[in-house]
Symmetry: C2
Subunit: 142 residues, 2 copies
């Protein structure tokens, strides 16, 4: 396994269709969910995809309010382990309920996922400012 | 999406080839890596797969020493979102350097992954005692 350059990690992450989001509760408990997302420069955005009045109850939103540090991982598994790779984004998250920042994030998401074009997310979006891109692959050229 | 019964979440998780492990540092930062693993009853085991003398430096091992709470996620992504599902294991982790508990975990791992039979992990194993299995799927029957 070889470490991926940050730009290559960012490129692979941005091309993935799904990532996993880790948040941490006030009590220090980790929480994981899969997310569909979009990347622009060093921002990762995803929708909470919940009715607005219920969104404060969603655990990842509560965790981000208590601890903005998040980690996102995209990876590819293959039974041929020489093809494994993963790319990780570490950063800080902000929940955006409304306004131009939410609209911009939704535009990126609708652009990537036709499922969202058919039925746009109604809840808040989360904007993650990535402070570190990293990753590993067997062959860093892929 | 419908919540999966705990037993069904456990079954789907146990059948997955890869999961993502979230740990939390002493400073409250989340960390994610993909892991290959095995499940027996309410235990999830995986290898750190590093030379023993270097294993104390591995971030997930350091994090578990500081905070034993971990979260593991297995999920299946499909562009047809009606086929999405995920299964999550919340629990507490112990790093096992040697002894029968490590041997038992290695046996489960070698049984599942021929890559490990060809080249068994030399480092410690991590044993997670799962306190909660959960998950979501569009159709819970799958």
């Amino acid at each position: 396994m070889a470490r991926l350059p940050a730009e290559e990690a960012r490129r692979r992450f941005a091309a993935a269709r799904v990532a996993r989001l880790a948040t941490v509760s006030a009590a220090g408990l980790p929480h994981l969910v899969p997310v569909v997302f979009a990347v622009r420069d060093d921002l990762v955005v995803f929708a909470v995809d919940q009715k607005p009045k219920r969104s404060a109850d969603v655990r990842r939103v509560r965790n981000i309010a208590d601890n903005p540090h998040v980690c996102l991982l995209a990876d590819e598994y293959a039974d041929d382990w020489s093809r494994l790779w993963w790319a990780r984004a570490d950063g800080t998250a902000t929940v955006v309920q409304a306004g131009p920042s939410r609209e911009g994030a939704l535009e990126l998401l609708l652009d990537r996922y036709e499922q969202y074009r058919a039925d746009p997310p109604r809840g808040p979006v989360v904007v993650v400012t990535v402070t570190r891109w990293s990753g590993w692959a067997h062959a860093s050229g892929g």
